[in-house]
Symmetry: C2
Subunit: 553 residues, 2 copies
């Protein structure tokens, strides 16, 4: 007898399973915020639901409540003042452990069905969640909707599909019959139980509170674990809404809602203590190197899935579409003001210039043309504010302010007034140029709208430098522009050694910082930027264990 | 075009793939050392090949040779004096890295085919390898043949099957076409390359130099990595023969033999330095806690698959076959003189005794009867020496000598003269009894033929204690004897929480310390005894990474 929610969502799961085996284009959740898809009143309803959260305590019936925390400040200057229940971490862990046996018992199909129901509900609430994402992260509306809503849901579904597939490969039972020559065979019955590893902690980041949280949340949940979501202290609301929806679905399905819990805190020491809790068995983390390194060092024996900083880079050897390349790069560097883990920081250009249909373009000209392309693309304030969004953190604002010390300014950052949110800190990218030897400047991650055009000796040196940066500093993305097959081959082999995804000659509507669920692996897990990938078998296989029993028959 | 070795071994691989999905009985390599299977001269040939190794340098054409190491002493007192080339670890790592790109290029099928050819050659050389296993580890002949030969080969094949399956789930290419409403779709070509994580180090143990080495070796090799095998300094020969065979197959297949290399050393510091080499990406280790903990602490960022110490235990509530139970336990405790990571150390028995068809048997009587059963089973010196083998290490001999300090002696260890090997240190098990409260005695791993009958309050206390020991000290196996379904249920749930394999009411020809490839998961990876299992998807999934590239079409 299959679980009713598994039956209900079977077609979606099958679609996802087919997608992860073929990795062509596929999506379960429509990315266009169209009234036809989401309902005529969806946008207004979502906005109203968001507004209803403001200035009061966020209702979440969790164990161990001992006060509230209200730590969010909107990059758009909107007053938030949402107070989240602050719960005793020991109480949360104990509640999670208590909830796990029944979650184990319903099996992989039941868990997949419940996860798919949660995802469907999240999808229906995309406008509300998108508004929460926008207002807490500073993303522009369209990105907040797509990346914070359907794209994040797709990533969650992708994790569920991998988790289901991995568990489905484990037989529930076996009849074991070993011949013994002329004697009767040895015969045993065996049972194989899929058991969650333990309570999972999922630590979110301040810029993508759902997109970077759902993969770990759903991978851990679908494999039989209770999950505690610890959002970034400035982007709690999108996670809190998501957790509340998950708890509602769990309760409706007759399960313990404490399989998904929120741990809201603005004290890193409290998160560290929770991470070290002996019953916390896995930790998913997206964020800075300092906390990531702390996890690696202090959470021995736990599974840690971490996405940290990197220095994404692009090598330009030449192009058959110079304008298209510049437009593509201008958009890449502008999108969400570069506050993406996939945005290019360093553009490696040969000192002798690059080959284009219009002839050789000198290094300085490439830099100047890119600066001009950015400036042109962001000339219309309506376009600029929609694409750039607002700067998420004071640290990033400060970095922009001192960027000129790291290189020669090709294009200075401008502040743009947001027509709707006068207090929003909107900034255009700063483009710098420097020599490859200025490593202290361009080889540190400079998170935000800060990019470098780096002068390298020639294309082979650029490829070698790209590889070295990937290996030493990590990267989620690299790009290449060239018209030469041998350059593509050399860069391809460099990315195999450095283990980083490569985008080649993007001049159209796809950008190096975009990663599509079900098709693009986000991170390889093979360089310092991340030790795991969204999503693959390795992202799920160690989140559960198989416990067998056997007896003679 | 598939690789010829993939075609050649396709049926075997298909059998293995089916076996890991169903986990009933299956084996690729015959476990009986029958002349009909292995050839009339196989035993003599194997002995001759072993003898030919003795007293000289073991030929192995590896880079960086800078002397030799000859560190083995046979527990049977046979002079070995095999000198192995000692190679510069940096040279080995560099050679491994150099060999990997061509290994990557032949793809998952080619790698599986080559691995299967190596396994077939290993199988044909089972007598030679078994003799080397016997003489270096002290195992009895039959165990050396079965566990050191076909069973180890089966475990290797199991790892290859999981590795192949995991890689086969990654599509090589995708055509990605994303609709854009009324506009033309976005279209991209994508390629997904399976890339080995880096050079793999496989550190073997002194008791099972092939059975515990082949899984890591073949899992790493099949997923695209070069492998350096570092055998225990007292059991190098079985690994060295295996490595040489692998190198022969690789060379014949036109591949770089440096994909499989031997690092022979008797200096732990040299192994530690190699483990910390930045290009060593994964480490498989079987052995003691001290080195395992060192790996966990010092090899951050590397994949560590470790099997360490544990305190395997059995709960006896009752039995419907008292004599069968005693016989089964007597064999379990005697086999290879308890020098197995799966042998029971603690037998938890209620103070009030156990239920049997003959009525309640008091605690002391259970202990005495088990002692008598062991004594009876080992009464015939021919049986005893065949089953017990010789004691592998002076440390174990010393432990046997001081065992009486850890409890009341129920059965003392006896020394038995080996008819064929007068210098062999053959010892029967020592059986002790103690109270559950004597934790300092019985809760430390006492590797070797040392077992405790532990007095516990009652069956529920025994189950709770078993769970606590598993969680705190680790275990690869637990057992249960009972006639009550509710006791089975309670113990089953305890093993789910403790994540340990359970054998129920073994009174016949299967023993708790036996783990059959393709059916029994060896270790769960979920308690301190091991962080990985032979074999499952988690054992292979993180040994390779997927590196993608994409471009518009």
């Amino acid at each position: 007898m299959t679980h009713p929610l598994f039956d209900k969502h079977r077609a979606t799961l099958d679609g996802a399973l087919n997608a992860i085996r073929t990795r062509g284009y596929w999506s379960a959740y429509p990315e266009m915020p169209s009234p036809k898809t989401y309902g005529e009143t969806a946008q207004a309803d979502g906005k109203a639901a968001f507004d209803a959260c403001l200035g009061k305590e966020f209702a979440l019936d969790q164990p161990g409540r001992r006060g509230t925390v209200a730590s969010e400040t909107s990059p758009y200057g909107v007053p938030l003042a949402v107070a989240y229940p602050k719960c005793d971490p020991d109480a949360l862990v104990a509640a999670g452990l208590k909830a796990m046996p029944a979650w184990q018992r319903i099996g992989a199909e039941g868990r997949a069905g419940v996860c798919l129901e949660i995802l469907e509900r999240l999808n229906k609430r995309s406008f509300e969640i998108a508004t929460a994402v926008m207002m807490t992260t500073g993303q522009g509306w369209m990105m907040a909707f797509q990346a914070g809503g359907p794209h994040a849901q797709d990533r969650g579904l992708e994790a569920v599909a991998y988790a289901y597939q991995a568990q489905a490969e484990v037989p529930a039972a076996a009849h074991w019959e070993k011949p013994q020559g002329k004697n009767p065979p040895l015969v045993m019955e065996k049972r194989f139980e899929v058991v969650g590893r333990g309570v999972a902690l999922v630590v979110g980041c301040g810029t993508f509170p759902t997109w970077n949280t759902y993969p770990g949340l759903f991978a851990a949940l679908a494999t039989g674990n209770a999950v505690i979501v610890k959002p970034h202290h400035n982007a709690i609301l999108p996670a809190a809404i998501s957790v509340r929806i998950a708890r509602e679905v769990l309760a409706e399905a007759g399960l313990d809602p404490n399989l998904v819990m929120l741990f809201a805190t603005d004290q890193p020491a409290e998160t560290q203590a929770l991470a070290k809790h002996p019953d916390v068995a896995s930790i998913d983390f997206t964020g800075g190197n300092a906390f990531g390194e702390w996890l690696y060092a202090n959470c021995r024996g736990k599974q840690v899935y971490a996405e940290l900083a990197g220095v994404n880079n692009i090598v330009i050897d030449g192009t058959d579409n110079y304008k298209g390349m510049l437009r593509n790069l201008a958009f890449t560097l502008s999108l969400y003001a570069g506050q993406m883990c996939t945005t290019t920081q360093a553009i490696l250009v040969p000192a002798g210039g690059i080959d284009t249909p219009e002839g050789k373009v000198p290094f300085d000209q490439v830099a100047a043309d890119l600066g001009a392309a950015i400036d042109k693309f962001l000339a219309d304030p309506a376009v600029a504010t929609a694409v750039l969004g607002a700067i998420q953190s004071p640290d990033t604002l400060a970095r922009i302010g001192k960027a000129s010390q790291w290189g020669e300014v090709v294009l200075a950052s401008r502040q743009i007034a947001h027509p709707e949110f006068p207090e929003a800190e909107v900034r255009t990218p700063v483009l710098l140029k420097c020599d490859a030897a200025d490593e202290a400047a361009w080889r540190e991650e400079r998170f935000g709208p800060i990019a470098f055009v780096v002068r390298v000796a020639d294309t082979p040196a650029a490829i070698a430098l790209s590889e070295r940066v990937v290996k030493e500093r990590g990267a989620l993305t690299v790009g290449l522009y060239t018209t030469q097959q041998e350059v593509i081959d050399a860069m391809t082999e460099a990315t195999w050694r450095g283990k980083v995804a490569l985008s080649i000659n993007l001049t159209g509507g796809v950008f190096v910082n975009q990663s599509a669920a079900f098709s693009d692996y986000h991170g390889t897990g093979g360089n310092p930027a991340a030790n795991a990938s969204y999503a693959d078998a390795a992202f799920v296989a160690n989140r559960f264990r198989v416990v067998q029993r056997r007896w003679h028959v």
